[in-house]
Structure formats: C-alpha cells, structure tokens
Subunit: 409 residues, 2 copies
C-alpha cells in the first residue's frame, strides 16, 4: 500500500472545494523540538517561553507529535522538510550538489545535474592546494563571473554558476539526457592529479562527458589566474523529479522562507517562492497579502534551529516568543487549517539535530481539540493526535479542510 498514492486518489476535485477557497498554513519553526535537561532546569524552551497567543490557541487545537523519518533516525533539513511536504523521505535521495545549489538560491529543475565545485591551485597536472589559498568571497565571485561568460553552454546543456563562500561555487547543468552517477574530479587530497569524471552507471555517460568538458574548459579559462587557476568538481547529483503539491493535492502552493535552502526544498515540492522580509512579522505579512492567491502556504522560521545548534536556550525562547507575538497577525487572516510544528528537534543540550519527535499543533474548525493549556513537548506527547510520521501531516491538513473524499460508500 503506497499511502501517498492512495491519498492522492482521494483528494477532491477542485470544483467540489468550498467556493470561497481555502487557506492551509504550515508554519515550521525549524528545529523546534527540545528535551528537558538538568543544565536548563529540566524545562524546554517551549515550556519556558511566554506564549500567550499559543496558550490561547492550544486548548482549541489538536496536539500531537510528528516523527520526521522513522524511529531513532535524525534527519537532515532535506529529508525533514520532504516529510512535512508529504513525501516519504526514505524513498528520496537529495545529493550534496543539489543541496548546495538550493542553498545558493539557484533555479533547479527535476532532471538537472548539480555539482559542488572548488577553485584550486594546480602546478603542472597536480593539485597543490584544493582550496586555492581560501580566497575572499569577492575574489572568487569575479572568477565565477569569468567562468560563466566563458562557458554559458556545453553542447545542448545550459550551464549556470553561482559563487558560494570563499573557494566554493556551484554549477547547475540543464539539458536533455542528464543523470547522476559521475565520479568526482576532486582527488580529495593535495599533491594528486585531478581524477577522471567517470560515469559510474550507463545512464550517466552524457553527464560524464559534459562534466569532463566543463572541467577542461574551466581550467583553460583560469590558466592565467593563479592561485585560482583550476577547479575541481564533486558531489555530482541529479535533482529528483518529484510530483508537486498541485499534482498530489491539487493545492496551489507558496513558500515564505528567509533562507535559500528552504526556498529550494519548497521549489522541489512545486511551490511558488514568495518575496518576503527578514522578520517573522514580515513573513506573516507576506502570507496576509497573498492569502487569496494560494490554497497552501509553507512559512519557515529559521531562528529556533540556529539557537538550538548554538546551544543557546535563551535565544530559542526569544525566537518562540517572537513567533507568538506575531501570531495574531496570521490568525487575523483566519486560515482554515493551521499547523505549527518543526521539521525536526534540535535540543539545546545536544547542539544538533535529533531523532526526537516534534511538537505539533493542528488548528481547524474540525480538529480534535484536546483542551491542553499549553503547547509544549509534554502536552503534545499526551495530545489527541498521538505521534505519527511527518508524511501524514499534509493529508491531515487536507482532511481538516474537508478536501479528502470518503473512501468507499
């Protein structure tokens, strides 16, 4: 039983949707979940934060917990968000090159090939410094511009480059017949020659030729620019072709996120990325402005995860309080379904992503309101929704908007 396909077949035709339209909002506080630890007085940030607006919403909402991937598994940001977007993250691999390109806000389509690249220094045929002396951002940005001009296209494949931090940049190859399965040209240690970008499977023959040509032309273009006189390529990855929100759920969907990685993941799921400001207030204002144009908004708040990774308990509390303070602006738009959760837990005591299930608040006119007085890890653990895999959340939100047909008569 393929759950996703099963549910997809039950989503109501749009002409059976409410005539006034619907608004589903998935508010993701990245790394929200935490655990009680003696160092922080056996309280979690959600328990310590002053959250009058969440407190008001909690008793009228259904609480529960989502588990991003499976028991005991700690997810990266990619799998964690794909789970929230309704995919089974165990079935989808997102390579390093794709994540790098998404993180640099590059446009990537299903079937494109993405790579991470370094500027490096070569002497003769040997790589003497894999990081080209760690150049300043603006130095390597100039060289990326030079490369982009020199190599706009290879055969029928469009080449797009973007500078990253220091010696790093990313490349996206767009054209027919591309596939992942190409070895790195990066020798992974200094003092060695570049490797051949060999195809590791037959489907990747063309990609291997394109990468080889890219490597060759880049080194030619940079020959006179020591110490940035060559490049090396690694993490060659194919953007998976995923069915989008509209295909699966008939939802016209939009993403509001301040960090490129999450905008990229949303694009992967077929969402339109909206322009927004830096603060939570700005993000909620963007929702308010566009509520009528989309059926589904994904809103991403990064601060909770950053505070968790820093082990900064107080900062995590502050971000939660900031969201709480901004919440009335969002609620004023009366979304039909509002889910507030995280993509994974980032406990302050661990300074890492973790496997712990993530608190979930699901509010709608039809939710199983449990009467809990607060929204915390502990009230969610005892909530009416129980604990379930993240991939079930999207269908739950649709159901709460009465967008899923009865199964059988």
């Amino acid at each position: 039983m393929d759950y996703a396909r099963f549910v997809q077949g039950l989503v109501k035709q749009r002409d059976a949707w409410p005539s006034q339209g619907v608004s589903l909002v998935l508010l993701v506080l990245d790394g929200l979940g935490d655990v009680r630890h003696p160092r922080f007085g056996y309280k979690t940030p959600l328990e310590v934060a002053q959250t009058p607006n969440l407190n008001d919403l909690a008793p009228r909402s259904a609480l529960g917990r989502v588990m991003p991937v499976d028991y005991a598994v700690t997810p990266g940001s990619g799998p964690a968000h794909l789970g929230l977007f309704g995919y089974d993250p165990r079935d989808i691999e997102i390579g390093r090159g794709v994540l790098e390109a998404l993180g640099l806000d590059m446009d990537v389509e299903g079937g494109d090939i993405c790579v991470r690249a370094n500027f490096c220094t070569m002497k003769g045929n040997v790589v003497v410094d894999r990081r080209a002396g760690r150049p300043e951002d603006k130095v390597s940005a100039e060289k990326v511009k030079l490369l982009q001009k020199a190599i706009p296209q290879i055969q029928d494949v469009k080449v797009t480059l973007k500078a990253g931090k220091s010696h790093r940049f990313a490349a996206v190859f767009h054209g027919p017949g591309l596939a992942e399965g190409v070895a790195d040209t990066d020798p992974h240690e200094d003092g060695k020659p570049l490797h051949e970008p060999k195809a590791t499977r037959p489907e990747a023959q063309k990609s291997a030729r394109i990468i080889a040509e890219f490597q060759k032309r880049a080194n030619e273009a940079l020959a006179a620019h020591a110490p940035l006189n060559a490049i090396l390529v690694r993490g060659v990855a194919e953007q998976p072709r995923l069915p989008g929100m509209e295909e699966r759920y008939r939802l016209r969907s939009a993403a509001i996120a301040t960090y490129p990685m999450y905008r990229g993941l949303a694009k992967l799921a077929g969402m339109k990325v909206l322009v927004t400001g830096e603060s939570v207030d700005d993000e909620f204002a963007t929702y308010s402005k566009t509520r009528g144009q989309y059926d589904f908004h994904f809103i991403h708040v990064k601060g909770t995860d950053m505070a968790g990774e820093d082990g900064n308990f107080d900062q995590k509390v502050t971000v939660i309080e900031e969201v709480d303070k901004a919440l009335p602006g969002l609620l004023a738009q009366k979304p039909d379904v509002l889910a507030i959760t995280g993509d994974h837990s980032t406990p302050c005591c661990m300074k890492l992503h973790s496997w712990h299930p993530v608190p979930l608040l699901l509010h709608s006119d039809r939710c199983e309101a449990g009467g809990q007085l607060r929204f915390t890890e502990e009230t969610c653990a005892r909530g009416t929704l129980g604990t379930f895999l993240s991939m079930y959340l999207m269908p739950m939100m649709l159901a709460n908007a009465e967008l899923i047909d009865k199964f059988g008569a």
Copy 2:
C-alpha cells in the same frame, strides 16, 4: 523499506564514537508487564512494589511501552528477546530443537541442526513407551554419556549430546551442508514403529541421512539397556544465521543471564556470555566489572516471569523490589544509556505470557524526560516515548548515545 537495514547503514563508524567509549545497558525483567485485576485490588506488581530508586529515576527518564511482536500477538521467549535485540521477530523462526539446545546451554552456531530427543522403550520394531518409563535424570544422563561416546561423529558432522529432564535430551549436529526440513522419527503415539526421518525439502537430504544414521547407531548402542533401549527424534531445527550486534550496530556486546535459554538467545545475537552469580546484585556486579570491555550489556532477570507464570503476585513484587534495591550499584557505573523493560508481559491473573505492551524506562542525557513520578504500566502508557515495537528499542538506545548518523543533509 527495510528498517533494520536502513538503520544499520546509519550507525556511525567506530572512529567517530566518543573516545571515552560508551556503555549501553538493556535490563530485561522477564515478563515484567502486568495488568490490573480485581483479584489483586486493581493494582499491578509495579504499582504495589516499593521502588525508591526507580521512583527517583522515572521523572528524569523517558517512559513508554514496547510491543514485542505486533498487535495482539503473545510471544514466546525467543521472539520476545529477538525483538529487544533489534530483529523483527516475525522474520526469524527458531525451531523447538534450537530452543531446547539453547535451554541446555549447548553451543550452537548458525547452520547447525538441533533436535529434541527422547529415550524410549521398543519391543521389536514397535515403540511401547515413548518416555521409557520416565527415568530419573541421573539414569538418562548416564545413557547420554554412553551415546556420546558411541557416536562422536557421523561422516563429517560432529555430534554433541546433552541430557535434559527425565527421558529428554538434545543433540546438536555441526558440519557442512546441513539444513532443517527433516521429519520426526517419533511416531507421536505408543504402539507404532519409528518413522523414517524423511527430508521434506531437497536442501535437507544430507541432514536426513545424518539423522537416520544417528537414530540407527543410537538404537544399536542402547539395545541391551531396556527400558532405555532406543531413542526417538523430533523438532529437527536449524539454528538461524543472524547478523550479530557487532555487524549491525558495531557494538561489542555481552550478556549477563542466569538461565541458559537467555544466554543462548544472546549468543544467537552475537553477544559474549559472561560468567555471573545467581542474584541480581551478582549480575549488576558482573556489569560493573566488565563495563569498560563492552559497549552493550544485556542483563536478564528471570524472577518476574516465574512469579507471573505462578500467579504469585507477592513474589513478582518481591523480585521487582530486589531489582530496585540493587539498582544503585548499576547506576554508580553511569551507563550512557539504560533501558529497563521486559521481553513481554506475564500478568499474574493470567499465569501466562501475554500480548500486552511492556513498560519501558529509557534513561540517558538526551532522553525526553517526562517528569512521571513512578515507573508503572500506567505512567508508561502515557509516557513521552509512546508505544512502539520492541525492534525499535536498540536503535533508540544507539540514538540516545549519539551513535547514529544524520540521514541526509
């Protein structure tokens, strides 16, 4: 998605483990779980027992329940322990012969064939008493010695025998090309001749020949020893070849158990069986002595199950209190992760193993402490860990020691 294989691929390489090493302890109180019953004042032994040390640990621990096999399924000791050891017990069959051999503390390796055997009395070619008049243990032990001497080997197969209770003994066949699928020679009623040990599948041809030869030579050796003048063989079973703790989790693992069956099950999972004393204190002392040599200790306490099977509520309380009293000795060793649970429930009101989920306490520096004041069936049913299949517990323990890599970036 094969969960076990998925997690196996995520276990960190040992060079990424904490340099000071880790200590994971799985403390199994056999048959721990119970149910409230009017006959016992609607209290369970865990609720009645005085457990100051568990009470102290509970609020700082994550509580939940493990379900040994699946909903509504009552497990035998074999599947119940395999679940706790991280296997899916539905995929593994352990035949009667293997359990008999393990229960007699015999060495059994993957691929060996084990059988249960009886001494019996024959007249002509007819079995007149399948139990040879139920001889005393020491009488049949002598005959086993005689048989072992007469039949040390059959072709390239080593034969090892061990006496059981009364007319029962077990045999282990070790050599190449053996497989289960051999019919019993036991006619299963008196007054019938022995059956042929026919192969029921092609892979078992050699095993069938070995069993036939064993049956023939045993009867020859015993011919003058009536009423123990023949044997019959049943429950021919192959020891499954299971990947061990080290292969799956990179854990150097040891077992501390006073009953042979559990030592045998631990060996099946690739654990080193440690010499220990009879009391819980002795078992915990064995842990303390060997903490630094192993990453994982399985400690088995049998008394709770025996009391449950006897319907002896007070005795079950006593065993729980004995464990509680000994607990500080174990905690003094500061295991990184401690799980206290049972392999299954054995409710006193049923005097049987049951399908009820089993209370679980999981303590670590990164656990989802729930603040519950006691460790009982009821607090566990409302615990932060929820109720899940036993096979998820090992990965949860590894995760709590940060031994599982992040999935995706």
